[in-house]
């Protein structure tokens, strides 16, 4: 009987060893991702059918016209937002699908990315962007918590915090979005959204905080209440708050993203140079302007913008005529050129209608480049303001949530 027991035990242990022997180490912390070689940075996003979940990657491409290969892509959170200063690439955690709760600073080169610094993020805090003041100071508005973190942009060490809770309308967070620094003042747009991520129906106005960058104290909140515009800037798109050659600050305002046919106001508000108040005469609700080159469509929302100079803005605007059932997948926005001076909007032909996961804009070598994910064409498209013509320069069969050319 002892023999029987011995053999049984031996057989069981043998089986255990057999399986143990094929155990494999997993190392999720391996950050030696090359991210691809090149000087064109893209963020391909593959959505699930709902459009609100999926996977995103960071990838460098050597040149336009080449095939996009994902082999060396670095996975980031779904539709992770990105801020870039020089070769510093700040990658934020995904808000849509939970990912690691950390903000990472990568230093990129033509050969790839090196992880340089990181900081832990409070769950639910929803930081989307970093606004750099200098090498020692940067601001990170936290949309969810309604405050602004002050950090060292090199080390990402926390230096302080600005509490904005007193400026919130109806809830706990004023939803601080994109900001811009001018004359020692940080101008922070407040989105003031409700539980459905849309502006409160009883609070359709533009709020901006003016913060002294030397003391980090809020000087005042300014509000533009006459135009009926709301939702100033999407927090991760730096081009939605820009300065023209005269240092006038313009803020692109989304309104209800074109989902509500009863409220389509969207456009621009302006804080003139040398001033810390709105000039309401320069506010422009673009929803009343017919887009040239269309069948009488008017913008129902502005999704992204980028200042080209000479009072001209390249932008993506949404049109009610293009809406679908799902706001995350509808190809409802088109590329346009907006003239702030003449108050005209003209469609750029040659760039397909896109869903909201694309629509990134950047400038390189005198041309402007945008991403679009259309029904039958997608990738990167160039726009030459000199000729007014656009052409596809990179084919990629996924959304491109971000584009930057070094």
């Amino acid at each position: 009987m002892r023999k029987t027991l011995f053999y049984s035990a031996a057989a069981m242990c043998g089986m255990a060893l057999m399986f143990t022997a094929c155990d494999k180490e997993n190392n999720d912390e391996n950050e030696s991702f090359p991210g691809g070689k090149g000087h064109i940075l893209i963020e391909p996003t593959i959505k699930n059918d709902d459009g609100a979940s999926g996977a995103s990657y960071l990838l460098q491409v050597e040149d336009f016209g080449k095939e996009v290969k994902f082999d060396n892509a670095m996975q980031v959170g779904f539709s992770s937002t990105i801020s870039i200063y020089g070769n510093d690439v700040y990658v934020f955690p995904s808000e849509m699908i939970r990912s690691n709760l950390e903000l990472v600073r990568y230093v990129r080169s033509a050969d790839g990315f090196t992880r340089a610094a990181s900081m832990q993020i409070t769950p639910g805090s929803a930081p989307y962007t970093l606004i750099k003041y200098d090498d020692n100071k940067a601001y990170i508005p936290q949309y969810g918590l309604g405050n602004i973190l002050i950090v060292n942009p090199m080390t990402l060490k926390l230096k302080g915090e600005i509490d904005l809770s007193q400026y919130a309308h109806s809830d706990q967070s004023a939803d601080p979005a994109r900001g811009i620094i001018r004359d020692g003042k940080l101008f922070i747009a407040l989105d003031q959204v409700g539980p459905t991520w849309m502006p409160f129906e009883d609070y359709r106005q533009i709020d901006v905080l003016v913060i002294d960058v030397n003391t980090d104290a809020v000087e005042k909140m300014i509000s533009e209440t006459t135009s009926g515009l709301s939702f100033p800037t999407r927090p991760f798109l730096p081009g939605m708050m820009f300065m023209n050659e005269a240092n006038d600050i313009y803020i692109a305002c989304c309104g209800n993203f074109g989902y509500d046919p009863t409220y389509v106001k969207n456009g621009f508000v302006c804080i003139p140079a040398g001033n810390t108040d709105f000039d309401t005469d320069r506010s422009w609700d673009i929803s009343e302007t017919v887009i040239e080159g269309t069948d009488g469509w008017k913008p129902a929302s502005i999704y992204n913008s980028y200042y080209m100079g000479n009072d001209k803005v390249i932008a993506f605007v949404a049109c009610l005529e293009l809406n679908g059932d799902n706001p995350y997948t509808a190809h409802n926005s088109i590329a346009v050129v907006i003239d702030l001076n003449s108050k005209t909007i003209k469609r750029i032909q040659g760039i397909p209608n896109t869903d909201p996961h694309s629509g990134s804009i950047c400038e390189y070598d005198g041309k402007f480049y945008v991403t679009a994910y259309g029904v039958d064409a997608s990738g990167v498209f160039s726009y030459d303001p000199a000729t007014g013509s656009a052409e596809q320069v990179l084919q990629c069969n996924t959304d491109l949530s971000y584009l930057y050319i070094f």
Binding site: F19, D71, N72, Q120, P123, D171, T196, F257, Y259, N397
Partner: protein
Amino acid sequence: MKELRRIMAACIMVTCFSNSIWAENIDADIVGTVYDIKNNSPLPAATVYIEELEKGVITDTEGVFRITGVPDGTYTLKVQYLGYNPTEKTVRTDKGARSNDIGLKPENLSLSEVIISEKSQARILREQAMPISVISMQQLQGTVSDVQSILAKTVGVTIRATGGLGSTSRLSVRGLEGKRIGFFIDETPMADQSDFVDLNDIPVDMIDRIEIYKGVVPAKFGGSAMGGAVNIVIKEYPEHYMDASYMRESYNTNRFQTVLKKNDRKLGLVYGIGGGYTYADNDYTMESPYIKGLNIHRDHDAYQKIMVGGSVKAYKWWFDEVELEPVYVNTYHEIQGIETDIRYAHSKSQGYLLNLKLVKDDFLVEGLDFDMSTALAYTQYNMIDTARSYYDWNGQAHATPSVYGGEIIGNRYATNSDNRKFTLLNKLYIEYLINKRHSVIFNSLIQTADGRPSDELKIKSLGKQVDFDSRMRSWVVGLTYDYRSLDQRFLSSLTGRYYWYGMDTQYENLYVTVPVEDISLRKTSAGFSEAIRYRITPGLMAKLSGGYDVRIPSENELLGDGSTIAPSEQLMPERNLSFNAGLLYDLTGIHPTNLQIKLNGYYMHVDDMIRFVKGILGAQYQNFGEMRTIGVEAEVKADVLPWLYGYANVTYQDLRDTREHEAGKDLPNPTKGKRMPNIPYFMANAGLEFHKENLFGGSGQNTRLFADASFIEEYFYDFELTKNEKRRIPRSLTFDLGFEHSFFDQRLYISGKIKNVADAKVISEYNCPLPGRTLGIKLRYILR
């Protein structure tokens, strides 16, 4: 409607046609019951054999047998049942069926022989034409394991769990999972009550066997499943029976279960009452998937379930069986945070179920078997998330996004829901035995669900109502033709099905203030399946099956749950074209090793697969264009030595995206040909069992020692586009050890188990770490 009439007309025609065939048949049937002469209890799986005709059958769970197509004459019936003295009886047939009750006298009970008899019954089921795995009572008896743990060791099956006891988990068969895998108790569909009755709620000790169907699901299950089904067959009990057990496991897990049965053979009534109480703290420590180096002690995951059920079964009325079963279920579950430290949110539910089952052979006409069950359920579900602040893992409090509260991250609203639902389910199964070779089966499954969600706090938080009353109706009707060759070597089962469903509700867009939209859907579809089996030699058989199955979305998938799952009214039925081929080499009862080798290969092409996807504003069910699966399963079981049983199985399932384009696009699909994400593709299990009677001396004792290993290869949460994919479910290997010792001729059991002996980190759902090593001990007493 025209389609329905056509089908009804076809059914009537088939019935009439069948009657005429029956009328021409001059052969008789020999029917009867085999029972224990000592206590009058029926003996299932006894062999009844006509010596002169070399023809035999096996008794069903009620001890009933029927030998069809016997020519007029006098015959010797030989009846055998292991553990009983064999007997013979001379019978004479004239015309029509004669009842023959045959009593058997027990031999001196031998434990090993009992084990073999249960295997015999399992063997009968394996010989169905459909691919099926059977977990027999022997594998279940006395173990500490719950049903899910047992299923997880079955070839082609995985369990996708998110936490400890009571946590959300999904059963995956061949990569298809969720509600498409039918969950049945005694063939009654339970999938739509899965929020209230869970696989693990069924006490293992009450289970006679678990049948796992893969690919084509037999008609008797009513057509509500696609890709697979799990049927839990509850034991039939002797005249007087009491079974009570208590189990204690790690993390303050306590389970008490009992069942009492009394069989009044004089009145022909069986009374039963049973219930269970389960409580678990689930307070294991896990490593945070979001914050490096942070260990989280789960202290808000308590789970409690109370379940009470009764039954009254009459078997001497006009119906052969009339059974009424009321069930009450009460659940409380705290919600454990992983990303944040949730301290208050929890859910509660109550369910009242009533099931009526009517069974009659030779219903109205001879050869017509009738089986109908009707279930009513009234359920109430409360989700409570009203905390005004939420906590991070540093203990710091933060204000919730809504002033009304709501600490579950991602929600921007508070909730205090009171969702009530009334469901009705009617399953009808009518089989007409035309003669010994042919039979026709009509089956119908009608389901209704009326939902009444209510959540004033959520309306206040969101500023609008987004959950509305709903009404769903569905009907699946099928017709099956079964053919058996005279020598029983060849079986064929051909089924056609028709599906109809309708839904009425309202929809309010979360983003837009526009009038509430009325939703009214009516959809139909059709499907078919064919399964054949051929016995090449007494120990070797081949199976081939294929089908085009449709699964209509459940009301939960269409309408959401009123809290965390958003409605998805546009959801399409999913369709599955499948082919299965299998070989079974089975020496059970033929050779001392009882060797069994099973090899299956299959192909599936699923269109509009319904997937559960988490997004920014909660989760939702969605259709996924199309995918295909090629899979192979292999399994070997044997009594390696008289005292050592071993098994090993391996599964490889290759599920790939086959969409040419994404929905609404002309562009090539960038993930075409890629492995489907978040579905394991390579699994293996192996185990050994040592068993010996009276190992430590004495008498009436039996000892078993178990060792089981389970392996799942690493897989990805997303499509694998780059070698740098970060979101992965790591390779897992777990190793379990257990023992069981019974005393007093299997009346008292003591058993114990160590799960995950090596304390390996195990994750089966992305970012949801599971408990490590757990210990459990169980005491069970049976009075009979």
